[in-house]
Amino acid sequence: MTENSLDKEQQIVNHLVGTFQNLTGKVKRNRRIEVSIEKKQITSVLNYVKDHLGFIHFSHMSCVDWLEDGYFELVYILWSPEQKIQLLVKALVDRENASVENADMIWRQLNTYQREIREMFGVNFIGMKGDKEFILEDWDNMPPMRRDFNTVDYIQEVYFERPGREDAQNVRETISKRTGEEIPEVATKYSRD
C-alpha cells in the first residue's frame, strides 16, 4: 500500500478548524480525518461539510456509551466521493436526558440511524419524525444498548434456560466433574479469568 502524503487531508482539517470555533481535528491516516465538535454545532458542521467540502455521502452514524465518564459520543461518518476522504465528526452528549438536534433534513437516511440510536440508547432527537419503535417491539425496559443495562439479569428474569446452562460458566470443569476426565493443560491455560 503506497503512503500518499497527507496534504489533502491536512488542508481540510485546517479549513474546518479555521471555520468553526471549538473545533478540533486531526488526520488519522490517509483518507481518514476526525474532528470533534460541540453538540450544538452538529447541524451547522454537517451542513457546511456537505455543501462546501464535498462530503456528500453519509456513510454511518454511531453512538458510543462512555458510562464511566457520563456521556454519549455521537459519531457521524461522512465520505467525499471526489476527494475520497472519510470524515468522522464526533460530538459529546450528556448521558442524563441526552438530546440532540435532529439532522435528518440534511440526509434523510439519517432518520433511520437516529431512530435506532433513540431506541437503543435513549438519545432524544429534537423534532424527529418516525415511529417510536424501530427494531424492538413492546420494549419496556431501559434502552438495551446502554452499558448499564444488564442482559444477563434481564434474560434470567424473562426467558427460560435449558438446565445445564447455569453451571456452564466453566464448561470443562463441569464436564470433568460429570465424567471424571482430567482437564488437559491446554484447556486450563485458556480458561476464563
Binding site: L136, E137, D138, D140, N141, P144, F149, T151, V152, Y154, I155, V158, Y159, F160, E161, R162, G164, R165
Partner: protein
C-alpha cells in the same frame, strides 16, 4: 391416543404413510438458518425427493421449520403462523439456538428454549446445520409420523394454558385471536 404403533388403526397407518411422504413446509425463514434452506431445497440436496416442498401460507403447510434463533418479535409471528396451520402439524427446531439459545444465550431479545413456547417434534442441532442434517431431521420426523408419535399439535391443545402463560411472559402486547381447537 395413538401413541405407539400397536394401537394405530389401519386407517391411521395409511393416513400416516401419506402424511409422511408429503411434508409441506411453511416458507418462513425465522433466523440465519434460512440460508441453508435454499441449498436443501435446490438441486444439490433436493429435499423434494422426500416429498418436502415449500408452501406459502400456514393454512396449507404441515411443517413449521423454525430456522434458528427467534427474536421476541418473531416469536409472536411464529406463534400466529403455527396457530393458523391445520392439524396435524409438526415443528422442527433448527439450529443450536432453538435448543438452548446457542450463541445468543445472553441476548436480551432472543428466546432460549423453543419448546417452552410451541411443541417441537424434532430438533436439528448445529450452527448452522448442514443440508444433510436438515434432511436427516426430516427423515426423523417422517419416522415419528409413521409411528404416530409426532403429536405436537395435540400436546399444544392439551397444555394450551401452560404454553399461553409462557408466551405471554415474553410477548407483552398480546392481541392475537383465540385458538379454539
Amino acid at each position: 391416543m395413538p401413541n405407539d404403533k400397536n394401537s394405530q388403526k389401519i386407517v391411521d397407518i395409511i393416513k400416516n404413510a401419506a402424511r409422511k411422504h408429503s411434508l409441506f413446509v411453511l416458507a418462513y425463514g425465522t433466523g440465519c438458518g434460512a440460508i441453508e434452506i435454499p441449498p436443501t431445497m435446490t438441486s444439490r440436496y433436493d429435499a423434494e425427493r422426500f416429498g418436502i416442498r415449500g408452501m406459502a401460507t400456514p393454512r396449507q403447510a404441515d411443517v413449521l421449520l423454525v430456522t434458528g434463533y427467534l427474536a421476541t418479535k418473531t416469536l409472536k409471528r411464529v406463534i400466529r403462523a403455527y396457530e393458523q396451520m391445520q392439524d396435524p402439524k409438526y415443528v422442527i427446531g433448527f439450529g443450536s439456538c432453538t435448543i438452548n439459545g446457542g450463541m445468543y444465550w445472553d441476548s436480551y431479545n432472543t428466546i432460549k428454549l423453543l419448546d417452552k413456547y410451541i411443541p417441537v417434534d424434532v430438533y436439528i442441532n448445529g450452527c448452522m446445520p448442514r443440508p444433510e442434517a436438515v434432511i436427516t431431521g426430516f427423515i426423523e420426523l417422517q419416522k415419528l409420523i409413521a409411528e404416530g408419535k409426532a403429536d405436537g399439535a395435540t400436546k399444544y391443545k392439551e397444555n394450551l394454558d401452560w404454553y399461553r402463560a409462557n408466551q405471554k411472559k415474553v410477548i407483552k402486547n398480546w392481541n392475537m385471536p383465540d385458538y379454539n381447537w
